[in-house]
Symmetry: C2
Subunit: 348 residues, 2 copies
């Protein structure tokens, strides 16, 4: 089978790798229908994160079940399934509390021992606990529908997780810092899933501003830093917003998030801090601020999100603004690296 491999910074190839097979009774083998490239895939590509040469890439996919182990009962060969980007055992203290990211058996596609999603086939451990069946099978979804499902595997769930951690609820005023796929999905999740009344998106890119408005952002602030602070305060009678989603992960974006949150408010952060910002606690004290930081436990959100897509009430697919064949994975990375595309879908 074919799969994308990391060689070095800026160097990704598609090459032949061994076909995976069922190894444990709880495994499934899934043939990829759609995969994609994530902003976090760019770290190693940009050399800000080390990765083994010839390691497998990609953590987002939907696919068709090809084979299941003897203990698997909830998914069957032929099912169209949506996979969370990281999995858990489904039975431990953490998984039972909706936090598979803390499961001792947690794994992420394209990391460590796990097959990458930017390829043709993956072995999926704990298939029953993690794969969510999209009803109707492959024939029930057009291209747009498949991209809607694909977006759930990471960015939609991650954006929603950020909004949830920021305390967004019905009627909230929300600021989203970050106009990438996760920031866009934080807008959509805030408005569409959580019922926010007003979302202000920080974005300086016209195409991303347009997508943000399409996803429900009432206002766009097209400046950054101190100017963004002033603009948000102007829009909120000088108070700031009670809920802020941080979807970038740099010290600068964190500062902006803390600048635009109102006293008593909450920052929900899903921008993976590859530059590892630190927060001084003293400035939080007088302002009664909360911060919550977390990698999304996608499996916790996935059944509900699949239901919404199937019902036609949630459509995050437009975060994909380019689709390429798997063989052109190197071009997909390059397009995202140059910010020519928000997010690129891959078709094996």
């Amino acid at each position: 089978m074919r799969a994308a491999l990391y060689l070095d910074a800026g160097d990704v190839v598609v090459d032949d790798v061994p076909d995976p097979a069922v190894q444990l009774p709880s495994d499934a083998v899934v043939r990829v229908v759609r995969s994609c490239v994530c902003g976090s895939d760019l770290w190693a590509y940009r050399d800000t994160f080390k990765r083994e040469p010839r390691s497998r890439l990609g953590h987002e996919f939907i696919g068709l079940v090809e084979e299941v182990g003897s203990e698997v009962t909830r998914v069957r060969p032929g099912d169209l399934v949506v996979a969370p980007f990281s999995y858990g055992c489904g039975a431990c203290w953490w998984c039972l509390r909706g936090l598979p990211t803390s499961c001792p058996d947690n794994g992420t596609w394209g990391s460590g021992r796990d097959d990458g999603a930017q390829g043709e086939i993956l072995r999926v451990p704990f298939a029953d606990a993690n794969l969510v069946v999209a009803p109707g099978g492959l024939e029930a979804y057009d291209d747009a529908g498949l991209l809607d499902l694909l977006a759930l595997t990471d960015v939609m769930a991650t954006g929603l997780h950020g909004a949830t951690m920021a305390g967004v609820t019905s009627g909230s005023t929300v600021v989203v810092v970050g106009d990438g796929a996760v920031g866009q999905c934080a807008v959509l999740g805030s408005v569409n899933v959580l019922g926010a009344e007003r979302v202000i998106l920080l974005s300086r890119n016209p195409a991303r501003q347009e997508l943000g408005r399409r996803f429900g952002a009432a206002e766009v602030v097209a400046v950054r830093g101190e100017e963004a602070k002033e603009a948000v305060l102007d829009l909120t009678d000088g108070h700031g917003a009670p809920a802020v989603v941080e979807a970038v992960g740099t010290p600068e974006s964190w500062q902006t998030a803390l600048d635009v949150v109102c006293d008593g408010g909450q920052v929900g952060a899903v921008g993976v801090p590859h530059t590892a910002p630190t927060i001084a606690t003293m400035p939080l004290l007088g302002r009664n601020l909360g911060v919550r930081v977390g990698i999304a436990p996608v499996g916790h959100y996935l059944p509900d999100l699949v239901d919404r897509v199937v019902a036609g009430t949630l459509a995050p697919g437009p975060v994909f603004d380019l689709t390429l064949p798997l063989e052109q994975t190197p071009e997909a990375y390059a397009a995202m690296d140059r910010r020519e595309a928000i997010k690129v879908a891959l078709v094996p």
Copy 2:
């Protein structure tokens, strides 16, 4: 009138100061019935915080209204009143949202322009918005009842605020880091007000352990640092606690709080960080942790807490383990500085 004055590190005196008077129509003048010394009063005493020589001291008091301005309608001369340690205007965006600590007109007794509580009489701005009447007047309360009310002015509300920020709710398992008056009140607030099922208190001091148990701590961990982490994990099947109250404010206590909170959990921090810890965001990410830091908006909690004391269902007064006359305020500071007393009440 007589009042405590700060002279220098380790040097507090009681001296004559001018009597306060009503200055604005919304003012009240209140004669102190009970005041006390706070752990935070020790910072300047220990020279970790600068304070003007001859500045007024103390921010916690209950008292009898002596005189009110022409606009004051909710409190009358002769009323026994409970004062939050810091006040707001009662009418601004922040005050209306229960956050008088962020009010532009916020003030704290014994700070800036405001009279200190360690004295005989104070001028109270925005009296209607801040003073809570204790029904029945002075004759309705014995010494213990007066101390119960006095504790509400800061430590009880602050401990409850910490527990609230930590997400404590009915059935919670909670760890409280810090066995001072605020930590003790976090135990009491968790169990008595919020309905926590199990509180684990970190304390190495036998008298404080005993008080913690009296306030509802089911277990006491009598070690610190790495040993405390191990002990709490042992008590929680290796998971840690979903809610942790940080009531010390040092980098070490913060580390312990983050060590004993379970993944997905929340730290509520009210230990004023006079050594200003910083938090790295990266370790929070994989564990899905939240932190909320805040100076207690006491006025938000005060009416309910006074009701509970009056109803006989809440009795935080035992945090006071020594009572001295106002003239012995220097001895009160010394006793707390030497950790011979948890908290000292003062009687003018």
